[in-house]
Symmetry: C2
Subunit: 111 residues, 2 copies
Amino acid sequence: MAAVNLDLTFQALADPTRRSMVERLSLSPASVSELAAPYAMSLPAIVQHLALLEASGLVRSEKVGRVRTCRMEPAALSLAEQWFNQRRAEAEQRLDRLGEYLKRFPDGDPT
Amino acid sequence: MAAVNLDLTFQALADPTRRSMVERLSLSPASVSELAAPYAMSLPAIVQHLALLEASGLVRSEKVGRVRTCRMEPAALSLAEQWFNQRRAEAEQRLDRLGEYLKRFPDGDPT
DNA sequence: AATTTACTTAGGCAATCACTTAAGTATGGA
DNA sequence: TCCATACTTAAGTGATTGCCTAAGTAAATT
């Protein structure tokens, strides 16, 4: 099972190159060279980005012959999504409590 | 208007201290000292984390007297959420196309 | 067997990060 | 007016990041 951890996931997504690699792989799997093609940087640089994406669990890859094929691991994305959903839920709870309060004391502070 | 940018947002969320500060502020606004209280690190370190959270647009703060009060800026969170939704939508489209394909050629490759 | 393709490994380098301590500056209370 | 509170500014340090070039290795292709 891939290591899924929010630190590494958000870290991986913080870089525009890596985020755009994720966008590419969300469409379909690709080889390292295909993945590298759109970027001006060296292949080793791309492979380093890929290593971070794999460390975060967002991407997995396997080598067949001399070609390494990379694909998304959707579970890692959904872990991050859950974190956002929790924050949103808390914010909404807070607004609900405020709403209740205002319903009971429409003119402001009860003191 | 706060600068909202995915690089800075994910960068901000990649650090466990900052993420936990966001979790705290999702519950209610807090002063800098309140925000700093749970952590072992120095106040300047906390203020630096806060600066990054503000740079990302996730948090906004204002100073009244000698107290700076920090609160969440929900719009910045939802920008990041949208990015995840788009990735998920793409992954689902891909699976839909695969499903269509399998419906037409249930025994595999048509060649 | 020689060459090309597709990565992989190793090392280096400048910039940024996550802290630190020390020394400020306002503000508010006794 | 003195003192504590709530930050704020500045400067330094070691570790990590995001690249690079150069030199591998191993699997096809010719």
